[in-house]
């Protein structure tokens, strides 16, 4: 039962990264791909109807962790207190900048929100990367089942780790580049004209960074988290996940060259999915690895009571089918490239 919920949570987090990933990425790059007011509105219009729904995956994943793995929720969220609070503030700023911008047209209003939108999106990508890095590296859990990490200590992987050290910063940069690429491919898919071609170029540039860092981070990760190597040697079938990532990233380059915008975006989604599932597969059965292996939280030690988990499965599956239905419908309703009505008083 624990393993099923482990997969369910991994699925929700993957959905979050794929969906909110593109609007985060779009935010992080929009100052560079969209220069004029009309271009900025094109980028915003490409995410306006869906960003909120995308962010729901984060909230729903949080709720599901709370319900399925209460000990993980309690220990992880209180241990990552400071970065989580900063993430919450960034989410607030970002939501405000998307929603408030279009209510007023003024030479001081628009640039302010454009800047905040870009900065908060950028920093969120960095923080999410750091979070992932922390989970892979392991946190200073002790016998009480709790820990508390400062934002940084000495940037080394010693006894007293901070949220940011050289490894997690490396993962952060990778996350930022990967989401920038993902977002650029989304913007390319949804827009036309100058924005479209700039986004395509930017995605191509980011691609090189992603390739280099993916190799680097992968190599380092095998050293830092021994469980990863163990899992891949015990169950070689797990190599399908990194394979998906590799074919995804290759697909991005291939489709960019062939100018198939839709496929390029899908390939980037495959890359992100492959990377995430590889990590998840690599740390299983741990849900939160500890620096000292004995204190790690695992699927078995962190899960809630079996009765609740069984009941939960019934409504969760129903809920996911419904959610998939609404989102598909919403995305189809806004399918195609955005068109800013030039005749309007925009």
């Amino acid at each position: 039962m624990g393993t099923i919920w482990f997969c369910a949570v991994a699925f929700m987090i993957a959905m979050y990264v794929l969906l909110d990933g593109f609007d985060l990425g779009a935010g992080a790059i929009h100052l560079w791909v969209a220069k004029t007011e009309e271009e900025r509105r094109q980028v915003l219009a490409s995410i306006a109807p869906v960003w909120d729904g995308n962010e729901v995956w984060l909230v729903a994943a949080g709720g599901t962790i709370y319900f399925a793995f209460p000990a993980l929720y309690a220990s992880g969220f209180s241990g990552f207190y400071l970065p989580l609070m900063i993430v919450l503030w960034l989410l607030i700023l970002r939501g405000a900048s998307i929603e408030f911008r279009n209510h007023i047209k003024s030479a001081v209003w628009d640039p302010l929100w454009d800047f905040l939108f870009c900065a908060s999106s950028l920093l969120l990508a960095v923080f999410f990367g750091a979070a992932l890095g922390n989970v892979v590296r392991g946190v200073p859990l002790d016998a009480s089942g709790y820990f508390f990490e400062p934002l940084w200590t000495n940037f080394r992987l010693g006894e007293e780790t901070g949220i940011l050290d050289w490894y997690t910063i490396l993962v952060s940069v990778l996350a930022l580049l990967a989401l920038a690429m993902h977002g650029a491919l989304w913007v390319q898919l949804k827009t036309s004209g100058a924005v479209n071609s700039r986004a395509g170029k930017l995605a191509g540039l980011a691609w090189w960074g992603v390739i280099v860092l993916t190799m680097l981070v992968t190599a380092v990760t095998f050293k830092i988290q021994p469980q990863v190597k163990e899992n891949f040697t015990t169950w070689p079938v797990g190599f399908v996940f990194p394979l998906l990532a590799v074919s995804g990233i290759a697909g991005v380059a291939f489709e960019l060259r062939r100018r198939n915008e839709r496929r390029a975006f899908l390939a980037s989604s495959a890359y992100l999915t492959g990377m995430l599932t590889s990590v998840v597969f690599g740390v299983y059965p741990m849900v939160l690895p500890a620096r000292e292996a004995a204190y790690s939280l695992t699927v078995r030690t962190a899960k809630a009571g079996d009765y609740g988990l069984k009941i939960g499965l019934a409504w969760w599956i129903l809920g996911m089918i419904l959610a998939a239905g609404y989102s598909t419908y919403a995305y189809r309703s806004f399918a195609g490239k955005v068109a800013i009505d030039k005749g309007s008083r925009g």
């Binding site: 949080g62 309690a74 607030i92 809920g319």
Partner: protein, 454 residues
């Protein structure tokens, strides 16, 4: 430890109080939007569609602030109340996760369609989008109230291995009778906020002699729905809520009423200041025997005072609890008077010319916010000193590793951010109201139409 506990409590109180400013209007307006869209559908009159579009813009701003201040709530159980979450997550994680899975997806998908897809959806489709936004937001309310109700009156749980609570009966958790009545009472409060806001905007237009046809529509909708909600707020929902408190949390009832000593034929206190040290109420203005009657339906019934319970069981903020409760009840009574008189004037066809009543409706707008906040304070302060009533003390629930210093850091951050957010919210709402519902006044064009895709 005492210091960290206080900061964590203020942290939660501050963020939840600020957050709840927004959902109460969202939930109330969602119902009124369905009303306006239904009118539009039945009459085929573009007037109601424009009215709905205007309120849709206000709804959108309000909803956005509700969402961004709501995300911290979902995370704060873990960040600041880790010990509580570890113990109770197996039970209330159910309702919180269900809120995400069932209401947030529904709400967010269809709000996007409601705001940006009117052209594409057609008349019936757009009505349906409004209805589904309403359904999503009201479902969300239920899951949250059910979560709180479990903390007020735990049902359907058992103690698992390792001291954490486990779910024992899904339906006992979901259909907790406390949840059902608290939900009805909470939602009526939200409807009243929506009604007062809509009526106030309408009154503002009528008093300033602009957009008067819209003003009449808004005042009428607000007053009609508001009068019904105000009455139902008192009876049966408020009455049942009181009965549950008297039955399950008698010490809370005594503290709410400022009743220090047990009394047969206990009076209803209208005004007075509780002095907890001396154990008495100063300057009481009372109506004799009413409290006994309201609680037990007998004029001479005996109501237990605080002195019957050990002090360790008393809520720790008795004066604040007492004032919250009295504010809520007092304001609720005023709402009934205002709304019923306005409804009578409407029925006699005099409301739109009755300047004093329009003034009254316009000036009342902050009051339902105060009443709703006071109502929640009554519930949550009344639950003290328990975090889960009878099972876990508030002091046992905080995150063991998060120091007072770290909690202050985030509390100060939220205070700053929310101040800015609050100012922007009022500024943007004022601007939408100033621009008004007439077509072609919005500088960004009709955003809904503009963003339509190919």
């Amino acid at each position: 430890m005492g210091q960290a506990l206080d900061v964590h409590r203020i942290h939660f109180a501050f963020t939840i109080t600020f957050h709840y400013i927004f959902p109460q209007l969202t939930m109330g307006l969602a119902l009124l939007l369905v009303y306006l869209k239904t009118k539009a559908l039945r009459t085929g009159d573009e007037h109601y569609d424009r009215a709905a579009r205007f309120w849709g813009r206000i709804f959108g701003i309000n909803f956005a602030v509700g969402v961004i201040t709501g995300i911290p709530m979902e995370f704060q159980f873990g960040t600041n109340w880790a010990a509580f979450s570890k113990a109770a997550g197996g039970v209330i994680g159910q309702t919180l996760a269900m809120e995400g899975v069932f209401s947030f997806f529904l709400e967010s998908s269809f709000l996007g369609l409601f705001l940006f897809g009117e052209k594409k959806l057609g008349r019936i489709g757009h009505w349906l989008a409004a209805f589904l936004v309403f359904l999503g937001s009201w479902l969300s309310g239920y899951f949250i109230v059910a979560t709180d109700a479990w903390m007020q009156h735990p049902t359907g749980y058992r103690l698992g291995v390792g001291g954490a609570f486990e779910l024992a009966s899904f339906w006992d958790l979901l259909l907790n009778k406390w949840a059902v009545w608290q939900y009805a009472h909470t939602m009526l409060g939200a409807v009243q906020t929506g009604c007062f806001v809509m009526a106030a905007v309408g009154a503002f237009y009528l008093l300033t002699k602009r957009d008067e046809n819209y003003g009449r529509t808004f005042v009428k909708a607000g007053v009609l729905v508001g009068a019904i909600a105000a009455l139902l707020q008192l009876f049966p929902t408020g009455d049942m809520q009181g009965e549950l408190v008297a039955d399950q949390q008698p010490v809370t009832l005594a503290a709410m009423e400022g009743l220090f000593e047990s009394r047969a034929g206990a009076p209803l206190v209208i005004l007075g200041q509780p002095d907890v040290e001396k154990g008495r109420l100063d300057n009481p203005l009372e109506v004799p025997e009413i409290l006994s009657f309201l609680t037990y339906r007998q004029w001479r019934a005996d109501v237990k005072g605080l002195s019957e319970f050990p002090q360790t069981e008393w809520p720790d903020q008795i004066p604040l609890l007492y004032y919250s409760y009295h504010l809520m009840v007092g304001l609720g009574t005023i709402f009934i008077a205002v709304m019923v008189v306005a409804a009578l004037l409407l029925w006699r066809g005099k409301l739109y010319d009755s300047r004093w009543m329009l003034w009254m409706l316009m000036l009342c707008v902050p009051l339902p916010y105060i009443a709703n906040t006071a109502g929640w304070m009554t519930a949550e302060l009344g639950r003290q000193p328990w975090l889960i009533y009878g099972l876990m003390r508030t002091a046992q629930g905080i995150s063991p590793r998060v120091s007072a210093g770290n909690a202050w850091f985030s509390l100060i951050g939220f205070m700053g951010l929310y101040t800015v957010l609050g100012i922007l919210w009022i500024f943007l709402l004022y601007r939408e109201i100033e621009l008004g519902p007439a077509p072609d006044v919005h500088p960004r064009g009709e955003e809904a139409a503009v963003l339509a895709t190919e």
